[in-house]
């Protein structure tokens, strides 16, 4: 479903050249719930940006649903992002001047759905996250957990092939974090593939696969004791 082969991403300034990803290889199958951990500066966010088509890469190949994204132009990438990927951000990234309905509507408008189809999907998505009764509210009128639920509804409304979550509970207290995580777990159980970047060891434990990124390279974590050890390292460094 998602295959990265020898991906390289280099950030250049006049003085410095930073290899954010180097020969990065990863395969994610449909239905996976992958947690990506690693110390700060290890390349987690760069990986997320490349995986989410938010940034291009300098080498290697990236196949999304069997289709190489290499060489696609901005419009093609935007369309692919809109159709295949749902995003959940640490700061929720809701548009403050739009009510919940209009927020969830944003990606659907870019998809070009008719009004009736959009309305049906928005109501359905807000129903799933338990906020259908508050669709005329503004984001500022909601708690952090509720805002993240709206963000999840926005990501789900387009029925993407996979969700990319960037520290989805980073700005939430533990109770709200658990609630959001339960929701993501439920979404994953229904078949949506999730890739989640996190610093939170507890969150990483809930994933079916754990990936550890260090110095722009990836390593799979397979055994229970390895996970603990790596999470411990992550907690120390990050």
């Amino acid at each position: 479903m998602l295959r990265m082969q020898n991906i390289r991403k280099i950030f250049k300034t006049e003085m410095v050249e930073t290899h954010a990803l180097r020969d990065f290889n990863l395969e994610v199958e449909e239905g996976d719930f992958v947690a990506v951990t690693g110390p700060s500066g290890s390349g987690k966010t760069t990986f997320l940006n490349v995986a989410g088509l938010l940034e291009t890469f300098d080498g290697g190949d990236y196949l999304l649903d069997g289709q190489s994204v290499k060489g696609m132009n901005d419009t093609q990438l935007a369309r692919l992002r809109n159709e295949k990927i749902g995003f959940i951000f640490q700061s929720f990234n809701l548009l403050p001047d739009l009510n919940l309905f209009d927020n969830v509507d944003v990606p659907l408008r870019y998809r070009g759905f008719k009004a009736a189809e959009r309305k049906r999907r928005i109501e359905e998505a807000l129903e799933v996250v338990g906020l259908a009764s508050r669709m005329k509210h503004l984001p500022a009128q909601l708690s952090g957990g509720q805002q993240q639920r709206v963000a999840i509804a926005r990501a789900l409304a387009g029925r993407p092939r996979f969700l990319l979550a960037d520290e989805p509970t980073g700005n939430l207290d533990s109770q709200m974090a658990t609630s959001v995580l339960d929701l993501m777990q439920e979404i994953n159980n229904q078949g949506t593939t999730i890739i989640m970047v996190t610093h939170d060891p507890m969150l990483a434990k809930r994933a079916s696969r754990n990936i550890f990124v260090r110095d722009g390279q990836v390593s799979e974590v397979g055994k229970e004791d390895d996970i603990v050890e790596l999470l411990h390292k992550t907690a120390q460094v990050g």
Binding site: L54, F87, N93
Partner: protein
């Protein structure tokens, strides 16, 4: 255009900035519409034909200073000599120059009695060569005959029997009659002194270009004996500049105890008369252009501020699938809405200001087409102004969405 709803609702939540910009646009439209209306009004006034052959006409003053100055003899000899010059079409002595700003006016009425309404009219004292010297066309009746030309003294009150009027004056006095039917009609000057219309000319303007009755003129068959004369001279096409010099030199050389002054062309006189109009037009254009630039810069400023304030939101939209074109379209539509609100306000305020100008300064009403034309211009200005910042916004990377700052 389906994005208009959310954009409009979002704007309503940030009313102040958008409303202030809309007000600025309304003000710009109000001033633009009325200023351009005034410019066009002045242009149409300046473009009115005077009836004269202006390109081939000039005039001069002859002021007697010698004690034994015999004006009648001098004028008759001058006119004879000037007419004899090759290149001259005709010349007449005249009391006032059309379009020059200074002249005589009287009131004519169709019934006797000081309480009866009269129509204001500019008075030119000319001889039987007046029509040729002006280059106007006699459309009914006949020209003055040489024998009916008399001399008018400085304090003389009476008036000769016959007059020639312009068609506009004839219409004002006798609205239901054709020029031919006006011939022989009696009008009264000074309340009860009768004058008979013996001729109608097509067009001639009064000395006062700002006067609403500028087309109302009467020619009186008299020469003046005021020690100061003006000669109004028409030349063959292309001969004017040469003849100006030649006539002046000839009259000066005669040394008849008078001074020759103010040798000027009709084109110079027209330019002088309309100079204030031209100046007003220039000032109004400058105001319109400056105001439009300020409005455009206001839009650029507001959209730039808005883009900088919403960088993360733009990144998020891009992450959610907006193409660069979608982002540009978003800002263009947002500006279109703000501009539209401003223009709707501007329609009302433009009409209101025009009504006030009509009442206060007797300006004509604005044509209906001013409103849609101004709206289209300001819409285009708005879209052009927002293009740069919108393009900048479209360059924002979607990766900005994942940055926590």
């Amino acid at each position: 255009m389906s994005e208009l709803g959310p954009i409009f609702r979002a704007l309503l939540r940030n009313k102040v900035g958008a409303f202030l910009l809309a007000l600025q646009i309304a003000l710009t439209m109000t001033i633009m519409v009325n200023a351009i209306h005034m410019i066009e009004n002045r242009s149409s006034m300046m473009a009115r034909p005077s009836g004269l052959d202006e390109a081939n006409q000039f005039y001069l003053s002859s002021n007697g200073y010698a004690e034994n100055f015999n004006e009648r003899a001098v004028v008759e000899e001058d006119l004879r000599n000037i007419r004899a010059l090759p290149g001259i079409v005709d010349v007449t002595q005249i009391n006032a120059i059309p379009l020059s700003g200074g002249g005589w006016s009287m009131g004519l009425q169709t019934e006797t009695g000081e309480d009866k309404p009269s129509v204001g009219v500019a008075v030119y004292f000319v001889d039987d060569h007046g029509i040729d010297a002006f280059g106007v066309n006699l459309i009914a009746g006949e020209n003055f005959s040489p024998t009916e030309i008399t001399y008018r003294q400085r304090n003389e009150q009476g008036w000769p029997q016959n007059i020639i009027v312009t068609e506009a004056m004839a219409k004002e006095l006798f609205p239901d009659l054709t020029p031919a039917q006006v011939i022989g009609k009696t009008t009264y000057i000074g309340g009860d002194e009768p004058m008979t219309i013996t001729g109608v000319i097509d067009q001639l303007q009064a000395p006062w270009v700002g006067w609403s009755g500028v087309e109302r003129v009467m020619l009186v068959p008299q020469r003046t004996e005021f020690r100061s004369s003006r000669y109004f001279i028409r030349t063959e096409p292309g001969q004017r500049d040469r003849m100006m010099k030649e006539v002046e030199e000839m009259l000066v050389a005669e040394d008849r105890g008078r001074l020759i002054r103010n040798v000027r062309t009709m084109e110079e006189t027209r330019d002088d008369s309309y100079r204030s109009y031209s100046a007003l037009q220039t000032i109004l254009w400058i105001i319109v252009i400056i105001l439009t630039i300020i409005t455009a810069l206001g839009i650029v400023g507001m959209v730039t501020f808005s883009v900088n304030r919403r960088r993360k939101q733009i990144g998020t939209r891009r992450a959610l699938g907006a193409s660069r074109f979608d982002i540009m379209k978003h800002f263009m539509l947002e500006n279109f809405l703000v501009t539209s609100v401003g223009l709707l306000l501007g329609v009302g305020s433009s009409i209101a200001l025009n009504i006030w100008l009509v009442d206060a300064f007797s300006l004509p009403r604005i044509g209906w087409y001013y409103i849609p034309v101004a709206m289209v211009i300001l819409w285009l200005v708005g879209q052009a102004a927002v293009f740069g910042p919108a393009r900048k916004a479209s360059q924002i990377s979607p990766a900005l969405a994942t940055r926590t700052a």
